[in-house]
């Protein structure tokens, strides 16, 4: 539930902070999954020993 005692500036800043946090989390997840996908493909491409 939104707090009633926040000024418009504080509400706007809160919204920007949440958007930035979500963007950073998305970026971390993208890099993590990309690493798994590319690593997995290269492991499978290796010739058998």
């Amino acid at each position: 539930m939104a707090r009633q005692d926040l000024t418009p500036e504080e509400k706007a800043r809160g919204g920007r902070n949440i958007a930035l946090a979500l963007g950073l989390i998305a970026f971390v997840l993208i890099v993590f999954v990309t690493t798994i996908v590319r690593l997995g493909a290269n492991v499978f491409d290796r010739a058998p020993i």
Binding site: P8, K11, A12, F27, I30, T34, V37
Partner: protein, 323 residues
Amino acid sequence: MTGLAAQPAEIRPAAPARWQDYFQLLKPRVMSLVVFTGLTGLVCADRPIHPFLGAVAILCIAVGAGASAALNMWFDADIDAKMRRTRGRPVPSGKVQGADALALGITLSLFSVGLMGMAVNWLAAFLLAFTILFYALVYTMWLKRSTPQNIVIGGLAGALPPAIGWAAAAGTAPLNAWLMVLIIFMWTPAHFWALSLYTSEDYGNAGVPMMPVVKGAKSTRQQILAYSLLFVPIAIAPAFTGLGGTAYLAVACGGGLVFLVLALRLLRSHAGEQLIDVRTDDGLYGVKADARDARNLFAFSIVYLFSLFAALLAEHALGLGAL
């Protein structure tokens, strides 16, 4: 241009900037067309790419396009403030500081190019970097304010996403990828000049040398027809290069005929000759009677380009063969 820190006197923060204001800096409507053409290039490459990496490639194209738009809005805040169509944008309306728009543009450029290179391949990353730099430096900072050929040459930036998508999937960019680029490149002059015929008062006020302002409405209508005559055969060409199939040929020929008829009707009209503002308050498509031929070509050009790429996308996604 807007300074890094100082804002022009008339631009003052009206209200605290919300995250939605920053999102508007990325021109989401333009971004959607770029994503669509980039996705079409990626699918038309007919090379297997991991779905997640394909999605990352499209995300990078979208973010790169958004970064270009933010850099454009930072640099063009002074002329955006003078034009009815653009004065509500976040920087001229005072919602976002120019320096913040610049920072967002640079940050997203680095993120999109770096991620494209590391996750997909460096050819796609190079093409994406070239697109961003061409739009920001060559079009926005140089051509737009110096020549009526601004959107002809600058249109290359908006045309490149299919080649980026193709390169992302295949690691190469063969001639058919560049044919898709050429289609958008040759489409751009007729599309933008039709729009500028009924927004020329805006461009004149802002000192932007768009074709109707510099050469007049009649010359612009003639050049629109000339570019249309060059564009339609190029739009049909993929049907004969192994890129498009029967459905594409039908769409390209049928739509091309309508495109030429609308360009011819525009030539015979008096669109752009009135000095008064011919627009109503209904966005880009609300105009008074004299400008309807320009508005019709502008609106149909979007439908036609979308149809061409939708036909290519559908044919390749469904595995339908070329002619």
